[in-house]
C-alpha cells in the first residue's frame, strides 16, 4: 500500500545524498568569512526547511483525516510530524554548533529564525503526551489531527511574530536562494535540499510501510488465534479417545 515506487525513490535518495556530499566537499568553495565550518549550512538549513514543511504537511494530512475520517491519513500525519521532530532535534544541535563556531555562542536570542524554530519545536514536543494520553484509538486520531492543524497554522504566524519583534540578521535563505548566494554555493545548497527532501519522503514511506505491516501482522495473528480456538473447541468431540 505504501511501498509503491519505494525502490526507485530509495535509489534516488542515496544518489542525491552522495551528490550533495560530493558537491559540499569538492565543489562548493570555502566561505570567505567563516571558512570550513560554513559547510554545516548545507545540512542545517535543508533540515530546518524540510522539518518545517513536514510540520505543515502533517497539518494538511490531518485536515484530510478529519475530512475523510480515514485512519490512514492520521497515520501519515503522525509519521510526518514524528520525523520532523527528529529532524528538528538535529536542526537545533547543528544550529548551536554553527552559532558557536561563527558567532562564538551556543545560543543567540536575537536570531528570529532560531528562536521561532525553538518555539515551534517545543510546541510539537507536546504532540506525544497529547496523543498517547488518549486511549481510544479513534478519538486519539481525531484529537491528534486537531492538534496538527492548529500547530501547522501556528508555524507561519510564529515566524512572522518573532521576526516582527527582533532585529533581522540571520541569513534568510529561503528568500535569498535567488539572491546573494553565489552560483556554486546555490547549486550545492539546492542539491542538498533535494537530498534532504528525498530522505524525508523515503523515511516517511518506510515508517508507514513498517507500521502498516505490523498492524496487518497483528490482525492476522488475531485471526489465527481465533481460528485455533474454534478448532480447539471442535477437536475433542471428533477425537476417537
Amino acid at each position: 500500500m505504501y511501498s509503491k515506487g519505494f525502490k526507485p525513490l530509495a535509489v534516488a535518495t542515496v544518489l542525491s545524498i552522495l551528490a550533495a556530499f560530493a558537491l559540499v566537499f569538492f565543489y562548493a568553495p570555502n566561505d570567505a568569512d567563516q571558512g570550513f565550518i560554513q559547510k554545516i549550512f548545507y545540512v542545517h538549513v535543508p533540515m530546518a526547511i524540510v522539518a518545517l514543511f513536514g510540520f505543515v504537511a502533517g497539518g494538511i494530512m490531518a485536515i484530510k483525516h478529519l475530512r475523510t475520517g480515514e485512519a490512514s491519513w492520521d497515520m501519515r500525519s503522525y509519521v510526518a510530524i514524528h520525523l520532523s521532530i527528529i529532524l528538528g532535534t538535529a536542526v537545533l544541535v547543528t544550529g548551536a554548533i554553527w552559532a558557536k563556531a561563527s558567532w562564538g555562542h551556543w545560543w543567540v536570542w536575537d536570531e528570529p529564525v532560531l528562536v521561532s524554530f525553538l518555539i515551534v519545536f517545543l510546541l510539537y514536543c507536546v504532540y506525544y503526551p497529547l496523543r498517547y494520553s488518549i486511549e481510544d484509538p479513534e478519538r486519539q486520531a481525531r484529537y491528534s489531527s486537531v492538534f496538527a492543524i492548529a500547530a501547522g497554522a501556528f508555524v507561519p504566524i510564529n515566524f512572522t511574530a518573532v521576526r516582527l519583534a527582533e532585529s533581522v540578521t540571520h541569513p534568510r535563505v529561503l528568500s535569498q536562494t535567488g539572491g546573494s548566494l553565489p552560483g556554486d554555493m546555490r547549486l550545492t545548497f539546492l542539491i542538498s535540499l533535494l537530498a534532504m527532501t528525498l530522505l524525508f519522503v523515503t523515511l516517511w514511506k518506510l515508517e508507514l510501510t513498517s507500521k502498516h505491516a505490523s498492524m496487518q501482522l497483528k490482525r492476522l495473528r488475531r485471526r489465527l488465534e481465533l481460528r485455533a480456538e474454534e478448532r480447539g473447541a471442535a477437536t475433542p468431540a471428533r477425537s476417537p479417545v
Binding site: L123, S133, R139, V146, A150, T160
Partner: protein
C-alpha cells in the same frame, strides 16, 4: 446558535458566581507571582521591558489556571454528557467557553493590573492606560480563543494538568511578543507609544487566525 451559546455561558457564569473557583484563584495567583518576582528580581519597582515582561508572563500563567478549570465542572460532575446530548452545535459550546474565559480574564485584569501598578510598577499606570486597555482586550480575545481550544483538546487526555500548560504556553508566544512589545514603551517613565500599530496588528491577526482555526476544528473535539 447564539441562544444556545448564551445559555451555556449563563450556566458557566452562574456556577462561577456560586463556587468562585476560577477568577479568585487566578487573581490570587497573579498577586503571588508579583511577590515572587519582587524577590526573584530583587527589585522594588519595575519599568519598561522588565515591567511589561513581568506583567504579561504573570497574566499568561494565570490564564493557564483558568484554562485548566474551563471544563472542570462538566468533567467532574458528568455534565458534559448532557451538554453533548443536547441538540446544539459544538460551535455554540466553543463560543460560550471562549466568552466565559474572556470574561474571567477581564475580571482578573481589573484586579491584577491595578495591583501591579501599586506593587511593582515605577511609572504611573494611568499614563499608560488608554493604549494598555486596547492591548489587554486584543490579548484577551486571542487567549480566550486559544484557551478554549486547548481546554477542549486536553479534556479527554489522562495527563490533563500536564498537557494544558505545555500546549498553551508555546501557542501564546506570538501573543506575548505582541502584547509585551506594545506595552513596553507605555510602561516607561513618560509613556510614549512606539510601534504600537505594528504590534496591535500582530495581536489582531493572531486573534483572527486562531478564532477561525478554533471554529473550524472545534466540531471534531468532544465527540461521543
Amino acid at each position: 446558535m447564539i441562544r444556545a451559546a448564551a445559555a451555556i455561558l449563563r450556566k458557566d457564569l452562574t456556577i462561577e458566581m456560586r463556587t468562585k473557583e476560577s477568577v479568585p484563584a487566578m487573581t490570587l495567583f497573579s498577586v503571588t507571582v508579583y511577590v515572587l518576582f519582587h524577590f526573584g528580581l530583587d527589585r522594588d519597582t519595575l519599568d519598561g521591558e522588565l515591567a511589561s515582561g513581568v506583567l504579561w508572563v504573570t497574566l499568561l500563567l494565570a490564564t493557564v489556571i483558568g484554562v485548566s478549570r474551563l471544563f472542570a465542572t462538566e468533567r467532574e460532575q458528568g455534565g458534559i454528557d448532557a451538554l453533548l446530548l443536547a441538540p446544539v452545535d459544538r460551535t455554540a459550546l466553543f463560543v460560550a467557553k471562549a466568552a466565559a474565559l474572556f470574561l474571567y480574564l477581564v475580571l482578573l485584569e481589573v484586579v491584577a493590573v491595578p495591583v501591579f501598578g501599586l506593587l511593582l510598577l515605577g511609572p504611573d499606570l494611568l499614563a499608560a492606560l488608554p493604549e494598555l486597555l486596547v492591548i489587554l482586550v486584543l490579548a484577551d480575545i486571542g487567549l480566550a480563543a486559544v484557551g478554549a481550544l486547548v481546554a477542549a483538546l486536553a479534556v479527554e487526555t489522562r495527563a490533563r494538568e500536564l498537557v494544558v500548560p505545555l500546549l498553551l504556553l508555546p501557542l501564546v508566544v506570538p501573543l506575548l511578543i505582541g502584547a509585551a512589545s506594545a506595552s513596553e514603551p507605555l510602561l516607561r517613565e513618560g509613556a510614549e507609544p512606539e510601534d504600537l500599530g505594528r504590534f496591535l496588528a500582530l495581536l489582531a491577526g493572531y486573534d483572527l487566525v486562531f478564532l477561525l482555526i478554533a471554529l473550524a476544528v472545534f466540531d471534531f473535539l468532544l465527540d461521543d
